[in-house]
Structure formats: C-alpha cells, structure tokens
C-alpha cells in the first residue's frame, strides 16, 4: 500500500470518527430531551436508561400540562412578541444604517463604520447590573418592551456589520442605474437593494431571532411578573419549582428549541451565504 493511499484512509477514518463524536455530543442531549418529554414521570423514574423510542407509548400529556397548567402558552406569546418585534426593528435599522455607512459620504463615516462592533465588545454580564439598577430607579423594570430595547442594542451592531459587508458586495453601478432610471435614494434601497440583499437580510433576521428567542440573562434580571415571562425564563421557573417533573421541563425545553431548529434548517443556506458574502470580493 502506498503512502498516499494510507494517508487517505487514515484521514477518512479520522473524519468519520470526528463526525460521529461531534454528532453524539450535540445530538444526544437533544434526543434525550425529546424522548423524556414523550414519557410519563413514572416511566422515566422506572427505566431511566431506556433509550429506545416506542411510537405506541408516545405520551403528549406533558406538553398539554406545560402549555395550559403552567402558563407556557402565555410565555410562547411573549417570546414570539419580543422576538418578532426585535427582528423587525433590527432588520429595518440595520438596513438603513448599513446602507448609510457603505454608500453615503458624511463626516465621521469611517469612525461610525468601525465603531459599530466596538459596542459589541462589552459582555452582557458587565452591562446587566448597571442596567438593572438604572431601569429600577427609572421604574421601567419588569417590562417586555424594555427587553426588546436591550435585545435591539445587543443585536443591532452585528446586524449592521453583516449588512454592511453584504452591501459592499453589490456593484454600485446597479444603484447608479436606478438613480438615473428615476429612483430616489429610498426607492433605490426599497426596489433594488432590499430585493438583492434577501440572503443578507434573512441571515440578520435569523441571527436576531435566535438571540431574542434564547436570551435568558436579561429576561431573568428584568422580569418579575410571571405573565410577562419569556420562554427561557419560564423554563427556569419550571425547573426550579417545588414539584420537579422531569418530563415537563423536557417538554418545555423542546418548545424552546424547536422553532430555532426549524428556522435554522429553513434559512441555513441564506445564513451561510450572508455570513460569507462580505468575505469575498466581487
């Protein structure tokens, strides 16, 4: 056997092994979570090591209980509201801002352009305490709209940066053609830039949605009233409650994870394209 061939085989084996290990680490907890959510508490306690899934014994009672007896219907609505509003605001502002720093010439443009990411360098944990104190004093704490503001501040820099990179890949001549054909700046953005940036916009939307949907720290600190809880906050509430029912926590966790998973699978192509578009010239 030649050396090249041996090398090839070794690389192949390593690649497969790597994938298997990686998938096991990522997928196993997820599988475990779904499995447990389909069982009754008794089953889980009796046979904790049972990894087989029997379709006939699927039990959706945990979902019913979580949704209607533990207030998760409300939490889902809250999370949808927070995420959707954040996504809409973030995408809109990032489009306008990203366009401005790429195409328009104004004083401080360079500084603006580079300082966008500077904001992102403050970790959330550094900000959460001062914000908590500040908003408490102002009497704004315990508000869902406040959460939207915080999420927006967190996601907008990255969204701006992503769209800026995306806009830079669009040839300016297309916009010039639009301007000569009768567009104003805003109609150029609306009729030419936005349709052409669909992948970039989709990736910003997905990124923002993931952050807003999953975020826990600020939701935990800022929200006190159970009616205002978001999903992630609700799961922790549930997990910390007196009667620890594993299947309920698992069902709640599935409800948190599933939308993200579905969105990601639907938009994954755009996300990857949107993220790499800025890296390539032309």
């Amino acid at each position: 056997m030649s050396r090249e061939r041996l090398e090839k085989i070794v690389i192949q084996i390593l690649r497969v092994m790597g994938l298997v290990v990686f998938i096991a680490i990522v997928a196993f907890p997820f599988y475990w979570m779904i499995l447990s959510s389909f069982r009754s508490l008794g089953e889980i306690l009796l046979k904790p090591a049972n990894l087989g899934l029997d379709i006939r014994t699927i039990n959706l009672h945990a979902y019913y209980e979580v949704l209607f007896q533990h207030g998760f219907l409300r939490y889902i609505c809250n999370s949808v509201y927070v995420s959707v509003v954040t996504v809409v605001l973030s995408v809109t502002l990032a489009t306008v801002g990203g366009y401005a720093v790429t195409r328009l010439r104004f004083r401080g443009r360079e500084f603006m352009s580079y300082s966008i990411l500077l904001i992102y360098m403050f970790p959330a944990i550094v900000l959460v305490i001062p914000l908590y104190v500040m908003f408490s004093r102002m009497g704004f704490r315990d508000s869902i709209n406040l959460l939207i503001l915080v999420y927006l501040a967190q996601t907008l820099p990255v969204g701006l940066y992503m769209l800026r990179s995306y806009f830079q890949t669009l040839p300016p001549e297309i916009e010039h053609a639009g301007l000569i054909d009768g567009c104003s700046r805003f109609s150029v953005i609306w009729r030419i830039i936005i349709p052409l940036s669909a992948p970039g916009l989709a990736s910003v939307a997905l990124y923002t949605f993931m952050i807003a949907w999953n975020e826990f720290l600020f939701a935990f600190m800022f929200l006190d009233t159970p009616e205002k809880f978001t999903l992630s906050r609700g799961v922790v509430q549930l997990a910390g409650s007196v009667h620890l029912s594993k299947q309920l926590v698992m069902a709640a966790s599935v409800m948190v994870t599933l939308p993200i998973l579905v969105f990601f699978l639907l938009f994954e192509r755009y996300l990857v394209r949107g993220l790499t578009a800025g890296a390539m010239k032309g």
Partner: protein, 367 residues
C-alpha cells in the same frame, strides 16, 4: 426625436489630493456622437458620471440645452446611461429591466408594454423578455443594457465603455450596429472608451483626454491628420506614429531635421523658431520603403510583422527605431538596408510637445 445639446464649462474635480479633471470645456451639438477617449485613469468616466449627476463636480457647470443641471438629481436630468458591466437589475426579467425607468416615471402600464416591445424589436431581443439577466450571454446583456437606455427616449445618452466586455468579433458587429442606431434615432450621445478604433469609427467628434485634461477636440480625420500634440499623435493610430527628438537646421533655403544618427530633408519650410529642439512625427503609412528616394534616407530592416492584409517593417534609422507600413507583397529580409521616401508634407512637427502648423513657406503655432 427628443435630443439635446450638452455644454461643459470648466469642469474641475478632485478626489482628495488627486486632480481627476481640470478645467474641461466641451460642447456637444444636437444629435452629435461625441467620443471621449484616453488611457485608463484619464478622467473620462468621471466626466460621464458628472454629466449624469452621479458625481458632483467641484467647479464648473453642466448645461443641457443651455440650462444648468448642476442642482438636478440624476433622475431629473432626463439622461440614460449604459454601464461597462451593464448593471442590469438581477432580480427583474428583461422586460422589467427595460420598463423600470418608465415605471418609475409613472407611465401607464399599457404604454410601457408597447414601448418595451418596440425597443426589444429594434434590438432583436423580443424572445428574451421573460428571462432574468443571469440567463443571458454577454452580448444579450449588452443589448438589454442598451435597450434600457433607449426605451425612455432620453435627451442624452451616456455610454461608459459599453463594448469592452464583449469579445473582439462581437465588438466589431455591435460597433456597426451602434453607428446604424445613431443614424436612425439621431440622438445626442456621449461615449467613453479607451479604444481608439471605437473612437475613430463611431465619433462625429472625438475628445482625447489624459490626466484630467482635454488634449484635443475634433473630427476623427482632424485628430488623425493634425494631432494637436505629441500625446494625441502617439495615442491615436496603430501602429504608433514614429516620433523623433532632434534639431531643425536651415541650409541653403531648405530645412533639415537632424535626429539621432540621421538627417531628414523637410523642404523649403520657413520656420521662425530658429534652430530649436523639436519633435518630428511620421505615421508608418507615410513612409515609402524600398524605392529610390530623394531624401537619401536609409534604414536597416530588423524585423517584419505580417498581419495578413499588410506588413509592418521594424527597422533602424540612425540610432532610432522606425515602423513602416508596407503592402503584403513587400519582400524584405532582416538585415537588408533599404532606401526610404518621406513626403515632407506628411511630416508632423512638434515644438515643446505642441503641434506646429506649417505649410510651404510659413508656419504658426496651432495653439
């Protein structure tokens, strides 16, 4: 047909420290085909963008039909532009691309459809109307880009190197079509190119530019036969004009040009320049080779390029190199020493880079 005249008054533009355009004056008449030509970076595209309103000039004024358009946005100037990379809207079909300008101007749908169809027919792209740009070849995209400009019947067409992304054969045929099209629609066109062949074949008026300055404006024949300076002389014409630095000497009522290792009799020309440093230019086709000449010039053949229809003889004249255009039948061998005949009337003389106009017995600076 809707057409306008265009005037540029002392247009100046800086990009940071770089002077992109310096005091450009130009007048283009109704229905005239004006070609801006020059090496890349000479400011010709910048000038076109200023006319379109995409770039704001620092000084000077753009007038369309005598009216200043300096304060008008591109969409208000009623001009159309064809870009080098076509700049079609990738997310629209060909029909939508063509109709976009009309749609933005609020033209009723029915009329848009008619005009799009008519334009598509003129350009022979009727069967492409439902396709997206990415499904078109380079030549087809170029046609769509032209169509998008044509359909609006603007006052002024601006074309920015529209043929440079086409392959050589297609370029030649589209060039002819453009000429036909212009004759048909009689519109005012400003056309930017770095290709002197396009400039000479298309233009009613040719503007030769370099480093943000206009070197000469004139009809193609004038540009070719009476270049204003040494830059125009060598930039226009292929193969390049032979250009030699030397001195003018007067002897027995005759003037001689003394170059490096050779002397050229240019006849009874009276120059009030005295015996001064000049440059002398001779086009390769203005030299007869291999016949007993009166100038007693001799050159040594070094190399022969055969391009099929004719031959270029590369020879050595004194210490200078010389290119001569010869018929395809010419049979010379490298190393051969041949006599040259040069008609003194065809010799261009430049003093400090500028052309000296002269005829037998008199002369004056063309400036």
């Amino acid at each position: 047909m809707n057409m306008a005249s265009l005037s540029l008054k002392a247009i100046t533009k800086r990009f940071g420290q770089i002077l992109a355009l310096y005091g450009v004056d130009l007048h283009v008449d109704h229905g005239e085909f004006c070609v801006l030509v020059g090496p890349s970076g000479c400011g010709k595209s910048t000038l076109l963008n200023i006319i379109a309103g995409l770039i704001q000039q620092d000084e000077g004024s753009v007038l369309i039909d005598g009216q200043s358009v300096d304060r008008l946005a591109p969409r208000e100037r009623d001009v159309a532009m064809v870009f080098q990379n076509y700049a079609l809207y990738p997310h629209m079909t060909v029909a939508q691309n063509l109709g976009f300008g009309l749609r933005m101007r609020g033209v009723p749908k029915q009329i848009i459809r008619e005009q799009v169809l008519e334009t598509a027919r003129i350009l022979g792209i009727e069967d492409l109307l439902d396709r997206k740009p990415r499904g078109l070849s380079g030549g087809q995209r170029q046609r769509v880009a032209m169509g998008r400009a044509l359909v609006r019947r603007p006052r002024l067409f601006l074309l920015d190197e529209p043929l440079s992304n086409l392959d050589a054969r297609l370029r030649a045929s589209v060039r002819l079509e453009l000429r036909h099209l212009h004759r048909e629609i009689q519109s005012t066109i400003v056309y930017v190119t770095h290709d002197q062949v396009e400039a000479m074949t298309l233009g009613d008026k040719v503007v030769v530019m370099r480093q943000g300055k206009v070197h000469q404006i004139g009809r193609p024949e004038t540009i070719y036969s009476r270049p204003a300076d040494t830059f125009v002389a060598t930039f226009i014409g292929s193969p390049e004009m032979n250009l030699y630095r030397g001195r003018l000497l007067h002897k027995d009522d005759r003037t001689h040009f003394q170059g490096a290792g050779f002397s050229l009799d240019i006849g009874g020309l009276q120059l009030n320049l005295g015996e001064s440093e000049v440059e002398v230019g001779i086009r390769p086709e203005d030299i007869a080779i291999g016949q007993g000449g009166t100038t007693a010039l001799k050159a040594k053949v070094e190399m022969i390029s055969n391009i099929g229809s004719e031959k270029y003889i590369h020879a050595r004249l004194g210490q200078e190199s010389l290119t001569v255009r010869a018929p395809k039948e010419a049979a010379f061998q490298p190393g051969q020493v041949v006599p040259l005949t040069i008609d003194p009337d065809r010799v261009h003389i430049f003093h400090e880079g500028r052309r000296i106009s002269w005829s037998a017995g008199s002369c004056s600076s063309s400036r």
